[in-house]
């Protein structure tokens, strides 16, 4: 009985996190919206929350509830796919860089240089100059995160490579591919997944920051950042709901990914 209780208490935050993320990813199919998220109703602009509009309406009469829900689809898609692609690129780079060769040093030197730049500004530059579209936002996310993954994978791989079982496997004549796939990867998988989760959380904020300053995903397409932007001028005059709800959506998604990351780390530490 005690054991069941303990497991529940540990798992509960993670389960909640998945529910939150599921809600935002598939919200477009889960809810039966009473108001079209893409239709403006200019007569009922700036309606307060409650009443006909659950979360109120914004300055042009968009329904905030439905837009907050469907914005998750695009924002989470960009963050997840950008992170995933960065991981795919960073993995071979990181493994290569964990070799003790000249090339490895070169990869790390280039990455060090790259890290000297303000990454958020770099993302803004890429999207502003390469064109305002989702593909470039994803590209910016990849560019920001490849160095981070490479660095992490390298340092993890370096630690694992020092260990006995790799030494033994090498001595027994295991091939390089076998060592990497059977011995190295399983050992760094936990850290990698945890990092991917944190990176996704971070990417959500980057995507939001981009649309907050008016590039990337822009209206009429719904995104949390652009919704906060639309409401930002009204915070001074007290119409809080326009920015609050999309802001809470970002907060919940980021918190969810962070929670999942912490959970993964704890799980792998136990083993």
């Amino acid at each position: 009985m005690k054991l069941v209780k303990k497991i529940n208490k540990q798992n509960l935050p993670v389960i909640l996190s998945f529910i939150v993320l599921f809600n935002f990813s598939f919200g477009a199919f889960l809810y039966n919206f009473t108001h079209d998220p893409y239709a403006t109703n200019i007569i009922e602009r700036l309606s307060t929350p409650g009443g006909a509009y659950l979360f109120g309406t914004d300055e042009v009469g968009f329904d905030i509830f439905s837009r907050t829900i469907i914005a998750g689809k695009i924002d989470l898609f960009i963050s997840l796919s950008g992170t995933f692609a960065a991981l795919i690129i960073g993995l071979p780079l990181g493994l290569m860089a964990s070799d003790k060769t000249k090339n490895a040093d070169r990869i790390m030197k280039v990455l060090d240089m790259f890290q000297a730049f303000p990454l958020l500004v770099l993302a803004i530059v890429i999207v502003a100059m390469w064109g305002n579209n989702i593909r470039n936002v994803i590209f910016a996310i990849i560019l920001i995160n490849v160095p981070r993954f490479t660095r992490l994978i390298r340092s993890e791989a370096l630690t694992v490579r020092e260990s006995r079982f790799i030494e033994v496997a090498t001595a027994m004549g295991a091939s390089k591919t076998r060592i990497i796939s059977k011995h190295l990867l399983p050992n760094i998988l936990g850290t990698l997944l945890a990092q991917a989760s944190i990176t996704t959380a971070h990417s959500i904020v980057v995507v939001a920051a981009l649309s907050f300053i008016g590039i990337g995903v822009v209206p009429p397409e719904a995104s949390w950042g652009s919704m906060i932007r639309a409401g930002s001028q009204y915070m001074i005059t007290g119409q809080w709901w326009m920015s609050l709800f999309p802001g809470l959506a970002i907060f919940l998604s980021v918190l969810s990914f962070n929670t999942i990351s912490q959970y993964i780390l704890r799980k792998y530490e136990q083993i």
Partner: protein
């Protein structure tokens, strides 16, 4: 020690060259055509060509790169496409404004972070530790610009204890004579305490926003590092000597200085870019909001100048950090020698 410093410093010119080249590549190897934006949609082909020649965009990329490096060696970052103001002048004008914001924010972040992290480390494994950990997760998950807006709503609209987020001073206040370009520093230098007070009041919202946001970073570091040093051998020794708890805590702090200083330096350098959006939210005329404005206008020399500048700040900060840490930590000193 001198040998180490020399070794680190000799790296700077090479790295500076790489940083400046990367700044050029990032901005110039892009498919976007600034001429289209500058000229507007209805400009004729002749007008566009004239603009292209005037801005030097008719040359190929190698010629432009050589020009850029040549100008750079004379300290010339080019002039803005639009305003014709030399980029270096703009950077000079806005740099200290951002500098002031970063310093105040970092002090707040350190203060808050150490309180939260210190509590966590002191009560490691207890309920208070779990609570501060939870608090840090919450702070970490709120985007800084959203936090800024929430603070505007509560502190300005509801409680009315801070001035409106419309810049560094009110519309009727007299700005000080320009010395460094930083409002607070200048008004203090010229003894204009009224403006200093107003400026400080206007700094409350943005610096608290950044301070709270980055306190989560310091909080986590402080908790881990202090937690480790509170459990270390020397603290055990100090305890057995019967020193007071406060004394022991101070010793643990000294033991934990290296990672904490590292964190301060990393955040300091990173904030030159990271505070850009907060500057925009609060109409803080700093280098970050200037950069964002220029980026959206595709003002190539200005963007290039900003990226180069931010890169150099990071480079110098990290080099200085390396030297400082080698000086502070005898273990690292031995290793590098």
């Amino acid at each position: 020690m001198l040998k180490i410093i020399f070794k680190k410093l000799i790296f700077i010119p090479i790295a500076s060259f790489f940083v400046s080249s990367l700044a050029f590549v990032v901005v110039n190897l892009t498919p976007g055509d600034p001429v289209e934006v500058i000229a507007g949609g209805i400009a004729s082909e002749e007008t566009k060509q004239a603009i292209r020649v005037e801005l030097g965009l008719d040359q190929n990329i190698y010629e432009r790169y050589l020009d850029y490096l040549g100008d750079l060696s004379q300290g010339d970052l080019g002039t803005s496409f639009y305003t014709k103001v030399p980029v270096i002048d703009s950077i000079n004008q806005y740099l200290f404004d951002t500098f002031e914001l970063i310093i105040i924010s970092l002090i707040i972040a350190l203060f808050l972070g150490f309180i939260i992290g210190g509590i966590g480390a002191y009560f490691r494994g207890k309920a208070l530790d779990r609570f501060t950990n939870f608090l840090l997760s919450i702070i970490q998950s709120v985007p800084d610009f959203f936090l800024g807006l929430l603070l505007i709503y509560f502190l300005f609209y509801k409680l009315q204890i801070v001035p409106a987020p419309i810049g560094r001073i009110g519309l009727t206040d007299v700005p000080p004579d320009q010395i460094t370009g930083g409002l607070l520093i200048d008004s203090a230098l010229s003894g204009n305490w009224e403006t200093f007070r107003v400026g400080l009041k206007h700094a409350i919202l943005p610096s608290i926003t950044l301070g709270i946001f980055y306190s989560s970073y310091f909080g986590r570091t402080a908790r881990n590092v202090l937690g480790n040093s509170l459990n270390s051998k020397q603290v055990e020794f100090a305890k057995s000597l019967g020193l007071s708890k406060f004394r022991i805590f101070i010793y643990a702090l000294v033991d934990a200085r290296t990672p904490i200083i590292t964190y301060i330096a990393i955040l300091f350098a990173g904030l030159f870019g990271a505070c850009a959006i907060i500057e925009t939210v609060f109409a803080w005329n700093g280098i970050g909001s200037w950069a964002i404005e220029k980026i959206l206008m595709l003002d190539i020399p200005a963007i290039q100048g900003f990226i180069l500048f931010a890169g150099l700040i990071t480079l110098f900060t990290y080099t200085f950090l390396d030297i400082l840490i080698t000086y502070l930590d005898p273990r690292i000193r031995k290793k590098t020698l």
